[in-house]
């Protein structure tokens, strides 16, 4: 997109923005809360801050006042922007419900122009109210107790307020596209409200602890979430999605048909070899980028684990390890570990871990699933680091304890992690011409193919190796 195209897109989008902002200013349901949160609420916070400062000073607890004033600054900025969520839901799904969206969609405006125009309109009045509220609050404090924020804190609060408004609006767009009524959108809005409630609690803790530098990390995290939600919103906010359905329903039959078609695909009726060749192979090819990311994530996990080794050093010596290894085989045999039952137990444990990782990944854009899979590798890095600290080659440790079964288990973890990452991220950008649900079901089918055809057999082999081979290798190398 060239600069002139960007300018053209924004000038077109602002036609929508102007109308919507003007419309909001004529709606008392928006104007009255905004005035209240802009003028009366900051004055109330001002009064609260004053009273609290005077009260705590009597008991020599000035620190409470010192922490409370910046915290209230954040609250004064946040309260008006919470209205942006309501405006955004009303602006997007409300128009759909009132049927005034279709004439807009019939106009030559592009989807992007409509998205930008409406998003800016949903943010502008609440943000203006937030900035005004902050000004009122700070002016009051300057006049009464002579408090002024540091420029850094002021920038942090204003940036947080702005980005939080953008996250709320971009989240509201995603919700709006998936619903056909304001009622349904309000119900789904809890997916935004609950994380934001937790976020504000977290920010409160940071501010009462006076760890203001952490707010930069919160800001960075919010920017990432905002980018993801805007990308998702831009992809989903299209005419097809908006008018392609009239009622909110989950069509299980159609969902199953989509999943089944994606799972069996071109390999249907061509036997197991045909399915592997046509479907599993292509599913793995589609995981190219997630596979690279997963390899990178696991490498980072090893490095992180290794870095923690000197920080949390174990009371170990090379002799301890040798003593432990000598009795290693006997102990395992006593536990009945060196048996098919032991292998089955390991396999089940690993499958359970992958199931948990999938569940977590499905609701966190894949992130929590990947973090869970990074943990074992972080532990490997940590123990390898410990070995290095007591003078044993970490590579030898890895070759003995990890590599025999890791040759199968680590590729399985990489494949599964990549499939989880794609499943989680599939909602960010459905394939062209596919709905959000269809895109997710297709990613789920790829996950199922990879899990069943590759990961499960690899883990079964790894479990057998871990029980029957790894202990022998450990004994051979470290048994003395």
């Amino acid at each position: 997109m060239t600069l002139s195209q960007v300018r053209h897109t924004f000038s077109r989008a602002l036609i929508i923005t102007r109308r919507e902002v003007w419309d909001q200013l004529r709606d008392w349901r928006i104007v009255i809360p905004v005035i209240g949160l802009t003028l009366f609420f900051p004055l109330l916070m001002n009064f609260t801050a004053n009273q609290t400062v005077r009260f705590v000073e009597r008991y020599g607890a000035e620190i409470v006042g010192d922490r409370l004033i910046p915290f209230l600054l954040m609250v004064v900025g946040f309260f008006p922007i919470s209205v942006s969520l309501v405006i955004a839901l009303e602006s997007f799904v409300g128009e759909k419900e009132r049927h005034s969206l279709e004439p807009l969609l019939s106009s030559p405006m592009t989807d992007l122009e409509l998205y930008i125009g409406k998003a800016i309109a949903a943010m502008l009045p609440p943000l203006f109210a937030a900035y005004l509220g902050v000004t009122v609050y700070l002016t009051g404090l300057a006049l009464t107790v002579g408090w002024q924020p540091s420029p850094t804190l002021l920038i942090q609060i204003l940036a947080l307020t702005t980005v939080q408004a953008m996250v709320m609006v971009s989240g509201a767009v995603v919700i709006s596209v998936q619903t056909t009524s304001v009622r349904a959108a309000n119900l789904l809005a809890s997916f935004i409200i609950i994380p934001f409630a937790l976020l504000i609690q977290g920010e409160s803790m940071i501010m009462f602890w006076a760890q203001y530098h952490v707010l930069w990390w919160v800001l960075v995290g919010l920017v990432f979430v905002m980018i993801a939600l805007i990308r998702m919103g831009v992809r989903l906010f299209n005419r097809e999605e908006l008018l392609g359905r009239d009622i909110d329903e989950i069509n299980m039959k159609a969902a199953w048909a989509t999943f089944r078609a994606a799972y069996a695909g071109a390999g249907q009726g061509r036997g197991l070899v045909g399915w592997y060749r046509l479907e599993v192979f292509h599913a793995v090819r589609r995981l190219a980028l997630p596979l690279v990311l997963m390899v990178g994530a696991l490498a980072i996990a090893i490095v992180i684990g290794d870095n923690y080794a000197p920080l949390y050093r174990l009371p170990l010596s090379a002799d301890d390890l040798q003593d432990f290894t000598r009795s290693f085989g006997e102990r395992l045999a006593q536990l009945g570990f060196v048996s098919p039952i032991g292998a089955g137990w390991i396999l089940l444990t690993n499958l359970r871990a992958l199931a948990i990782a999938t569940g977590l990944g499905a609701f966190s854009l894949g992130v929590l699933g990947v973090i869970l899979l990074m943990l074992p590798l972080a532990l490997v890095g940590y123990f390898a680091g410990q070995m290095a600290l007591i003078g044993i080659s970490p590579l030898l440790f890895v070759a003995a304890f990890i590599l025999p079964h890791g040759l199968l288990e680590i590729p399985a973890a990489i494949l599964e992690g990549a499939a989880i990452l794609r499943l989680g991220a599939s909602i960010l950008a459905p394939p062209p011409g596919k709905t959000l649900g269809e895109g997710w079901l297709m990613a789920l089918a790829d996950w199922a193919k990879v899990s069943l055809a590759l990961v499960a057999p690899l883990l079964a082999g790894a479990a057998a190796l871990e029980v029957f081979v790894t202990p022998r290798v450990v004994l051979a190398i470290f048994g003395g």
Binding site: I15, D23, P103
Partner: protein, 306 residues
């Protein structure tokens, strides 16, 4: 000007439009008739480049609805099923907003808005907020919105629904006037009288498929048979009916009247009148018995149901 071939739209497992093939030339009005849920609105949405066809193609004013959606939307005026107005706005402000969306210069869109508001008898309501408008007024304003940029293609979904008879007449007359050599119109309606009055072509759609298509006269002929003529005389026919049966198919007869089918009225009727003149029986009237589009519609839909 509007051309579709095998146009289909599927929502999950539901086939809303199934292989619709239509051609509407400049200057023509096509009435798309069909029960609720037949696929009319989905077809219109595909022709406006709002929904992408699942199969087939459509070209509107020379532009492909999938490849050139912006060009299509610039050349189409759409009256949506629901007027969908912004109730806190006033008419001129509302039309100015849409005029800007369609890229009209400020002076042009103001002049056009005033002209259309006056034409549709809405000039007096300019001071009111749109929420205060009656249903009919809302519908008229939505029609004005569709006409604002003077589009060469008009897609009108139920243009006279919810209107009082006077307003409906006004809108029908306006649509008739809008027919021009450079404009093609698709009219989705349940009002068969309106369709018959305005349309050059009728297409009946049911469960997403066009089940019959043609001019009103051709459809009547095809489905109800050749036109029926009624002849009234000033004197008794006195057995002349039997004489006429060799030339035409007699449908019914009375003492001084007869109804007969005339596959080609231009040839048959002069012959009949000549025979009566020869018999010195004065003719009072000779006219085609009116047959409504409703008869055609019901017959087609019932046949399709069976």
């Amino acid at each position: 000007m509007i051309e579709t071939q095998g146009l289909s739209k599927r929502f999950d497992s539901f086939l809303a439009v199934d292989g619709v093939t239509l051609t509407v030339k400049p200057g023509e009005v096509l009435a798309l008739l069909g029960p609720n849920g037949a696929g009319k609105t989905t077809t219109v949405r595909m022709l406006t480049s709002i929904l992408k066809p699942s199969a087939g193609w459509a070209r509107v004013a020379g532009h492909d609805v999938v490849e050139e959606p912006a060009a299509v939307r610039t050349r189409v005026g759409v009256l949506t099923e629901n007027p969908g107005l912004y109730f806190r706005m006033r008419s001129e402000e509302y039309l100015d907003f849409f005029g800007e969306l369609y890229g009209l210069p400020p002076a042009a869109r103001r002049a056009r808005a005033v002209q259309l508001l006056e034409r549709f008898g809405m000039a007096d309501a300019r001071g009111k907020r749109l929420g205060e408008y009656s249903k009919g007024m809302r519908q008229k304003l939505a029609l004005i919105r569709a006409l604002l940029h003077d589009p060469p293609v008009l897609l009108l979904d139920e243009p006279t629904s919810a209107m009082d008879p006077q307003s409906a007449r006004l809108v029908r007359d306006a649509i008739a006037e809008l027919r021009s050599e450079n404009r093609a119109i698709i009219l989705c309606t349940h009002n068969l009288t309106e369709a018959e009055q305005l349309a050059d072509q009728i297409a009946i759609i049911r469960r997403g498929r066009i089940i019959t298509q043609g001019s009103p006269a051709a459809l009547k002929r095809a489905l109800l048979g050749a036109p029926v003529m009624e002849l009234q005389t000033a004197a008794p026919l006195n057995g002349l009916v039997e004489d006429l049966s060799d030339a035409v198919e007699i449908v019914a007869a009375g003492e001084n009247w007869v109804r007969y089918r005339a596959p080609d009225p231009a040839q048959i009727n002069p012959l009949i009148v000549q025979r009566l003149a020869d018999q010195k029986i004065p003719v009072v009237t000779l006219a085609e018995v009116p047959r409504s589009l409703e008869d055609v519609y019901l017959q087609v839909v019932e046949a399709a149901d069976q």
